[in-house]
């Protein structure tokens, strides 16, 4: 995992310089330069939103809105942090806001946000079923759905740290920058998040 993380970090470091170039172009009014930034970050933006909400369609909407918001306020980006950090902060905040809205709506309608039907994992799974070993794939996706359900059940502040660290592979420092919290808080929240997820998975799956 660390090795993979390092590779990702290396790629990000390569992208950072390029990001600044296109960000400056956008700030000067070159709209098409933004398409490069979308191309580069769309997958990570979508995955953060998806792991935060557990709903693929919601995640697409959130990532889209986050990109539009980033474009609208791109002139405010002064390069104090990495552009990707700034961008992921936007998507995390949009995800949390959307979750609050959904919880409020579900509370009014008497539905739990943790309902498995709510998660869009089924839709994501369907194209992957056409594989050489459908049984194993089904089992894998079922397990992923269980894990996602447990992630979705976490508190927002635990969820965001877990998603950024254990799924997206950001460093403590990067997470601190994205969430604007100190390192110590990142660690303590991550510790609680991992323990809570372990407990949840133990209940759902049984013996891990």
């Amino acid at each position: 995992m660390l090795w993979v993380s390092n590779i990702i970090d290396g790629q990000k470091a390569l992208y950072e310089d390029e990001d600044i170039k296109f960000v400056l172009a956008c700030q000067k009014g070159d709209t098409e330069a933004f398409s490069v930034l979308v191309e580069r970050h769309q997958k990570q933006m979508l995955n953060i939103a998806f792991r935060m909400t557990g709903d693929y369609d919601e995640a697409c909407d959130i990532a889209q809105e986050a990109f539009i918001s980033a474009y609208k306020s791109i002139r405010k980006f002064k390069g104090e942090a990495k552009f990707s950090t700034w961008l992921y902060r936007i998507v995390v905040n949009y995800s949390k806001n959307r979750l609050k809205q959904l919880r409020g709506k579900d509370r009014r309608e008497g539905v739990s946000i943790d309902d498995s039907e709510r998660t869009g994992t089924k839709e994501v799974m369907e194209p992957l079923i056409n594989d050489s070993n459908p049984g194993a794939q089904m089992e894998k996706h079922e397990r992923e759905a269980q894990v996602q359900k447990c992630i979705t059940s976490l508190d927002d502040e635990h969820k965001e740290v877990l998603v950024l660290r254990d799924i997206q592979g950001f460093s403590y420092e990067e997470i601190g920058d994205i969430l604007k919290i100190p390192d110590g808080t990142v660690k303590s929240r991550l510790s609680r998040a991992r323990n809570a997820l372990k407990d949840c998975l133990s209940k759902v799956i049984g013996d891990l």
Binding site: A63, R143, S191
Partner: protein, 320 residues
């Protein structure tokens, strides 16, 4: 030895190898003697493995296109603002200067308009002025009447056109005016009814006067000054019958120059020539004597008021 609860809190960080030296040592010592915490560590490790192996989802193929179409929409909205204000360092000063220029222009026009209104308003209500004139002294009446007549003559002179037809009309008008002057002077001389002393301007002349006033405050001011000057002068109309109008007109003009006449104006047509000028009252007798040498004189009105310095003289030269 620390309690299991404390150790469990540190286990996730121990897994990341992010504990400080002492904490790490405590955890390791505890794990060696606590199967429960060791099991917890294994579960945490498996949990992290499960989470880390979650497959990434791919964005839908339309995602980038949709985002960019929204971005272009936003850029379209933004471009209106940019057109108006960007680049700020150029457009803001230009807009500020333009605003100041317009404000100054508006103030200038507004103030100019006030003067113009002052000039126009008395002309817009001539009737009450006539009423007031009835109660004036005979000298004042003469001045007022002369003022108005002078306006008529001025109008005729200003509207003089190069074409002969226009000249004819102008000369006729001048004749009418001179006739009017004669009538008015006579009326004044014999102190007839006050109402008869007031000259009502013909409507056409009034229109022309209004047009002149509208043409600008400065013209109105100049005219008013000229009218004020003329209002303090008496008027004399002279008919001079000669053999040759053109030659005689030249001679009369020379005479006027000789006698230091001011504002000499000449209108010549086929049948008559009209010369107007301001002549010093004291030189009038000599001038009249000289005019008699040129042709046959008929003085319609001769107002010799020694108190006034200048006389407004109208000489109409006709064929015998």
């Amino acid at each position: 030895m620390k309690k299991c609860e404390e150790i469990e809190n540190n286990l996730p960080l121990y897994l990341d190898n992010s504990l400080s030296g002492d904490d790490k040592k405590d955890v390791e010592e505890h794990l060696n003697s606590c199967p429960r915490c060791s099991k917890a560590l294994v579960e945490l490790s498996k949990t992290r493995s499960l989470v880390g192996n979650l497959a990434d989802v791919e964005p839908p193929p339309w995602f980038k296109q949709k985002v960019m179409s929204r971005v272009r929409e936003e850029a379209g909205k933004k471009s209106l603002v940019q057109k108006l204000f960007y680049p700020l360092r150029i457009k803001i000063p230009v807009q500020v200067l333009t605003t100041i220029f317009i404000a100054v222009l508006v103030v200038y026009i507004y103030r100019g308009g006030e003067d113009w209104m002052k000039e126009v308003v008395p002309l817009a209500a001539p009737a009450p002025m006539m009423e007031v004139q009835k109660d004036k002294s005979p000298e004042q009446k003469i001045k007022t009447s002369a003022d108005e007549e002078k306006q008529k003559e001025e109008t005729i002179q200003k509207n003089q056109m190069p074409r002969d037809t226009v000249r004819d009309k102008t000369a006729d008008a001048a004749k009418d005016v001179n006739g009017q002057i004669a009538v008015d002077m006579e009326a004044d001389k014999y102190a007839s009814a006050p109402a008869a002393k007031s000259v009502v301007l013909p409507s056409a002349e009034l229109e022309k006067k209004k047009e002149r006033n509208i043409s600008g405050a400065s013209i109105a001011m100049k005219e008013n000054k000229a009218l004020r000057m003329q209002s303090i002068m008496s008027k004399t109309a002279v008919y001079l019958r000669v053999a040759e109008i053109d030659a005689s007109a030249g001679e009369v003009e020379k005479l006027l120059v000789k006698y230091d006449a001011k504002n000499i104006a000449r209108q010549i047509t086929q049948n008559r020539a009209v010369l107007t000028a301001e002549v010093n009252n004291r030189k009038m007798k000599d001038l009249m004597a000289q005019l008699k040498t040129i042709g046959q004189i008929k003085e319609n009105i001769m107002l010799l008021d020694n108190t006034e310095e200048n006389v407004f003289l109208v000489i109409e030269i006709l064929n015998k």
